[in-house]
């Protein structure tokens, strides 16, 4: 397996990268406003904080706020009652299970779709 095979592999990878790059550019940015999920126990250097579209979630929750706001309006997903070490797992489980059930929204494997450095930067810049 020599030079010809390597050229083929390199070419395929380049084409693939090109398609995906273009595909990504074509995606719309989703609905505003965006909110940041804080206090999940993960440091910013390990993962950017989740920024999600509140409007999109209201729509898919059939206007039932208690799906996420399990205790009170200004709290979500029992985050204050959970020990910090358990928050990450609990939030992941809650978000991912609902996404799978509704057939909408990113899967757990699509980290950057929720932990989007771009959206976080946009949000931070808007706040200034």
């Amino acid at each position: 397996m020599k030079t010809a095979s390597i050229k083929r592999i390199a070419f395929s990878l380049a084409v693939l990268a090109g398609i995906l790059f273009l595909g990504q550019q074509a995606q719309a940015d989703g609905d505003a406003p965006f909110i940041k999920i804080a206090k999940t126990g993960i440091s910013a250097e390990k993962m950017p904080a989740v920024v999600l579209s509140h409007e999109a979630h209201i729509k898919h929750a059939d206007d039932d706020c208690s799906v996420c706001h399990t205790e009170a309006e200004d709290k979500y997903l029992n985050i204050d009652t959970l020990a910090p070490a358990k928050r990450q797992g609990a939030v992941h489980a809650a978000c991912a299970s609902c996404h799978i059930q509704k057939g909408k929204g990113p899967l757990l494997a699509q980290c950057s779709s929720c932990h989007s450095q771009q959206r976080l930067a946009n949000l931070d810049s808007k706040k200034k």
Partner: protein, 234 residues
């Protein structure tokens, strides 16, 4: 859920666990087959004797070779050693400690405890260095007088199996974070690595330790290490 998302879900959940199981069981099989396949008489090494020498011999043989400057062998080829260690650092650290992998494994196994997570910037650098290392290794196989005549299809295969998940994962990070298609490519490549590793030269993941331990014992029990308490001057 679209079929794309179903594929992602499978390959990051059950599918990943199957691949991981094949990997772990395959490696275990290699270890058992290796140890069971040794023969003190045919190898002419008294494996069961002189533990006072052979145990330090095993440790010296393995651990000295895990450090870039600790053996004459590594020192005799400094550039090769540098590239090799840069590549292997990422190969080992990134799949194990990158945040996404840690989270997926915890979720798939239904456990809360997991391996520590690397800061993203560190993972990025390691991955970039690994990719550079893989590319340099590929070029070296084509042009180096040490390797041109030796390289076989099996060597190209493992370069590809290692490079593909790194390249695809790195592309997700730097270019297309929202691309489900690219994530699928990454999942396919990563699972392929795990599934095929025991059946390719990637088995050196465990067999390195086996063959180094064996030679360490051989040198400690009967050869140049036997006058030094088993520790040969690698």
């Amino acid at each position: 859920m679209s079929s794309l998302q179903q594929a992602i879900s499978f390959l990051s959940g059950t599918g990943m666990l199957i691949a991981l199981a094949v990997f772990v069981l395959g490696c275990l099989f290699h270890v058992i087959r290796y140890i069971g396949g040794l023969d003190a008489k045919k190898d002419r090494v008294a494996y069961g004797y002189h533990a006072d020498r052979s145990v330090p011999g095993i440790f010296a043989s393995i651990f000295k070779w895990l450090l870039p400057c600790a053996t004459a062998g590594w020192r005799s080829a400094p550039l090769t050693t540098f590239i090799f260690f840069c590549m292997h650092a990422g190969c080992v650290l990134v799949p194990l400690f990158v945040a996404g992998h840690v989270v997926l494994l915890k979720s798939a196994l239904g456990i809360e405890a997991g391996l520590p997570m690397l800061p993203l910037a560190v993972a990025d650098v390691l991955a970039a260095v690994t990719i550079a290392g893989v590319l340099i290794c590929a070029v070296r196989r084509l042009v180096s007088p040490f390797q041109k005549a030796l390289t076989s299809g099996a060597d190209w295969l493992i370069l590809f199996l290692t490079g593909a998940p790194f390249v695809s994962g790195f592309l997700v990070r730097v270019c297309c974070p929202d691309s489900a298609e690219l994530m699928l490519v990454h999942l396919v490549c990563g699972n392929l690595f795990l599934l095929l590793a025991p059946f390719t030269k990637l088995s050196h993941i465990v067999l390195f330790f086996m063959s180094r331990a064996q030679l360490g014992m051989e040198y400690a029990i009967k050869r140049g290490g036997q006058t030094r308490g088993g520790v040969f001057d690698w």
